[in-house]
Symmetry: C2
Subunit: 565 residues, 2 copies
């Protein structure tokens, strides 16, 4: 391919709407183009990258006995009604009607379609286990698409679904797939990806893992134990608290705290430790706006994922109105009156001498003793694990919180979908059973962006060899010189004849423009034919990642290049 | 791959809802599964076929300098408003809203997206020509999906878009693409595909061709001259009529024709030739139900495509009510009163002694002389070309009408989209111009089904080698016999080691079931290991298309099989 004819614009200036480097470089390098919020077109360089990633995914799925199939992008609503997700999923699921008013959805994941495809086929235990997968376009109406290909609405995903007759068989396959994922991330150039325990969210099921590429721009927070092998998404991590109780309980006293509304303000005003305070965080249930008041220790934050999982319904941060009976800034568990769902985080269990709101404007209590003053209440884990927190596995205070990009996930789904959708098989003892499912996803575009995020410099991406759009970037500096042009043309043809993927720049532009365009395309091996080099009888062969830079005699150029690939 | 584990059901009975053989065989053979009207999932055998077709498409598009890109499935309505098609296309275009009420569409074709992708890039003449293409899922809300993969709502398509600075350059590229299409159809095993002139329909532009696979189950009618090389879709074919006029004009006379409503009945009743009659066909404009009355010679049929193109708006067959003023069955051009759009087909031009309706129940006229009685009216070509009709190219009465499946199309679009979407470039003389576009489509699933339609027998598809799901179907008859099993296992592993794509049937089933499953999978080369064969020291190597059937000594089996591939 001649660079001259490569469709797409390349330019120097960082677009102002790009918050992450991968997005900026992929726009600047002519990889992608904005079409609508969270919707992009790909130019050829990105298409070549994603196709190579897809091929690796395909090979690794085939290697664990996956069968490539294809589910539709557009599905009948009825299929999602069977599983219950037509009702349970929010606006991310696009619902629309066809010309005859038939309700349809756009596929954002394909558990329902997978069950529909195999439920007549797999009615006997001897058909199991099996795994089917596809690489297909999906659409999820994200509320806040951002960061280029990191969080989009339309995306291409490899999604796989396995079916089993026992939990043990699922677990064995799950491990196999976990290993396949490790191979995939190693092959695409990011072996540093780690798997972490995760929350299963809307997928259902219990055990699940996310594969995380650790980087500061990641959207996810991951709790990692620096002492043992515990790793979990903060959303899923248990928050362990130390039971702290003063020997002597003070008496409960209402104190005047004018205009001290946040727990930080109150504690500073009363010269009290935040760890000895109780704060309220208020939500409302989406369907009817009923209030949920959650009390937790003042220094902790709410883990909304754990809270939502506990409640089993969708919530949003509360709008505290005059009529609702809550006194914003002064809400406390003692003497709280009204029809609210009231929850307590386990961080408060057994505490005494606590500062909390008095449910009266400008007043707080001091000396609250949870047991003495509130009686028997249930405590659950609703708080976020924190940097320096206690590792749920080894029990030491060794938790570090890092940012990461989720580049893959695997779920043990159990029988959630097969039960709901009435998929059964007859086991070896003639009993009717629901098969057990696993599902396994990798987003192709996000993976490309994540690789770019950890493999780039100021000038452009540095693509790993296995997924680079081309293998060799051939620059003919001063191609208007017939000697240069002739030699470079010949080398181009020879490389192509050897099956090497070459992008060839023979434009009549300065070496500076040529090299900055080459930087933006990020091809691993650059070959420079130039007047100075030709005078010396050499070509330069330079690695994009600076791992080598050699001169080769012109007559051996072809072999030397191939040696470097 | 072991057949034992191949996901998908195979069965004998032809499903009652399958009207064409390809659909029946692809359902019976475990290739596809119904999800919703015009929406299917693919099992692995079909996925393997379509991936091979896609790879051939890709190679041939790359060979004519195409650049593979990707456009979104979901596009903002605004893009389609720019081209004017958001309004002009009917319900086939799915329109819906996202969570913030932003109007979106599902891509059924991507001219708008192609222009959007390149309009900033290609602002100078020296960027031209170029071609971009994608292979992507599309959705078209067809009113009547049918015939399995032949006419669906969701489909995968290779769509290509070329951009040029002159009509001549477009035409040269168009020819190149025409030749690439011929290579594609030859490679996938249907070299007999012919290209025919076609109507450009909603795509705009002037010259266009469809690639037709001639078969009786085809949905399209194609006019083919048996004497010259004229070939056109009947929709697009000009209908040439001979000017026939009797020497003497009779007088216009109203005659009683009780209950004779169709032109056949009237002509039989009056003992008159249909070629000397004038019939009315009535439509209504979609937007306001205004009536359109078209008169044409009694023996001809209306070509609705030509009519719609002439009118420039959508129409539907009329509902003739009591109030509309038309007398159903007795409508004629003489003394027709009312606010209708009245059109005349050129077949009526200059005719005399014509029978036509008298706009009065149970009465017709005889002796109508078009010029004498109707004065100056305009005549246009609205009629369908017929079997035995006049060839528009050589003028002989040599037209044959055949049925065909459209398996590809190419369009010269002109500047329709670039003008509407304000895509411009600066030419070599600094003038601002709109580029000229071509577009080129092939539906992948329909192509697979079309190939099956012309390559099958009663027992299953006979896939051409280049697109077959596997190369070899290895049958181990009586695999419960250790000798059989051991030899077949070894052969399977040896073939795989040589890179041969093998499907291996070592199930404990009868030879009959084994062979009928093999027939349904349609793999070109079948290898049979059986007790009888083993006793003779041979394996059988049989072609699915019956072109060969040989015995090879067991020790040479591998080489002999590879020789046959």
């Amino acid at each position: 391919m001649k660079l001259d004819k490569l469709v797409g614009e390349r330019f120097k200036e960082r677009p102002s709407d790009c918050t992450v480097d991968s997005h900026a470089l992929m726009v600047r390098g002519g990889y992608m183009k904005y079409v609508a919020n969270g919707i992009f077109s790909s130019y050829m360089p990105l298409k070549r990258i994603t196709r190579k990633i897809e091929q690796i995914l395909r090979e690794e799925m085939d290697a664990i006995d996956g069968q490539e199939v294809q589910f539709p992008v557009v599905m009948p609503a009825q299929l999602w009604q069977e599983s219950g997700r037509y009702e349970s999923i929010g606006k991310e699921l696009v619902r629309f009607k066809d010309r005859s008013e038939g309700p349809l959805v756009l596929g954002m994941t394909h558990e329902e379609a997978a069950v529909q495809l195999v439920r007549e086929y797999a009615q006997s235990y001897n058909k199991y286990p099996f795994m089917i997968y596809q690489i297909q376009t999906k659409f999820r109406d994200e509320a806040r698409p951002k960061s280029g290909l990191m969080r989009v609405r339309e995306f291409t995903m490899k999604d796989a679904y396995s079916f089993h007759t026992s939990q043990q068989d699922l677990e064995e396959y799950y491990d196999k797939c976990h290993k396949a994922y490790e191979r995939i991330f190693a092959r695409v150039g990011i072996p540093e990806v780690v798997s972490v325990a995760s929350d299963s969210g809307m997928m259902g099921g219990n055990i699940s893992h996310e594969f995380m590429l650790l980087t500061d721009i990641g959207e996810d927070s991951i709790a990692i134990c620096t002492d043992c092998d515990y790793r979990a998404n903060v959303e899923a991590a248990e928050n362990i608290v130390e039971y702290v109780r003063d020997e002597e309980s003070q008496e409960l006293k209402m104190v005047h705290t004018p205009d001290q509304k946040t727990i930080e303000e109150v504690c500073a005003f009363l010269n009290s430790d935040e760890k000895k305070s109780c704060k309220a965080v208020v939500y409302q249930r989406n369907i009817d706006d009923k209030y949920i008041v959650l009390f937790l220790r003042g220094d902790l934050e709410v883990n909304e994922t754990k809270l939502t999982n506990f409640l089993g319904f969708e919530i949003h941060p509360a709008l505290i109105t005059e009529e609702c009976g809550l006194t914003a800034g002064f809400i406390g568990p003692y003497n709280l009156k009204g029809d609210y769902i009231v929850l307590f985080d386990q961080s408060l269990k057994g505490m005494n001498n606590v500062v909390c709101g008095a449910n009266t404007t400008d007043y707080h209590y001091t000396g609250l003793d949870m047991e003495r003053d509130l009686g028997e209440v249930e405590y659950y884990d609703f708080a976020k694990i924190q940097e320096g927190g206690i590792c749920p596995k080894c029990g030491k205070k060794t938790i570090k919180v890092s940012r990461g990009i989720e580049v893959g996930n695997i779920f043990q789904l159990g029988t959630k979908y097969t039960k709901a959708m009435n998929m059964t098989y007859v086991d070896s003892e003639s009993n009717i059973q629901n098969p057990i499912m696993g599902c396994y996803g990798i987003g192709v575009g996000r993976l490309a962006a994540a690789i770019c995020e950890v493999h780039h410099d100021d000038y452009g991406p540095i693509w790993p060899k296995a997924i680079a759009p081309y293998e060799v970037h051939l620059c003919a500096v001063r191609a208007d010189n017939p000697e240069i042009k002739e030699f470079a043309d010949k080398l181009y043809e020879e490389l192509r004849a050897k099956g090497v993927e070459v992008i060839y720049d023979d434009r009549n532009v300065s070496a500076g423009i040529m090299f900055s365009d080459a930087d933006l395309l990020g091809v691993p091996c650059r070959v420079i034919v130039s007047p100075r080099n030709i005078k010396q009888g050499i070509v330069e062969i330079v690695a994009r990642d600076k791992s080598f830079s050699v001169s080769a005699p012109m007559e051996n150029a072809l072999e030397e290049i191939i040696k470097k690939l």
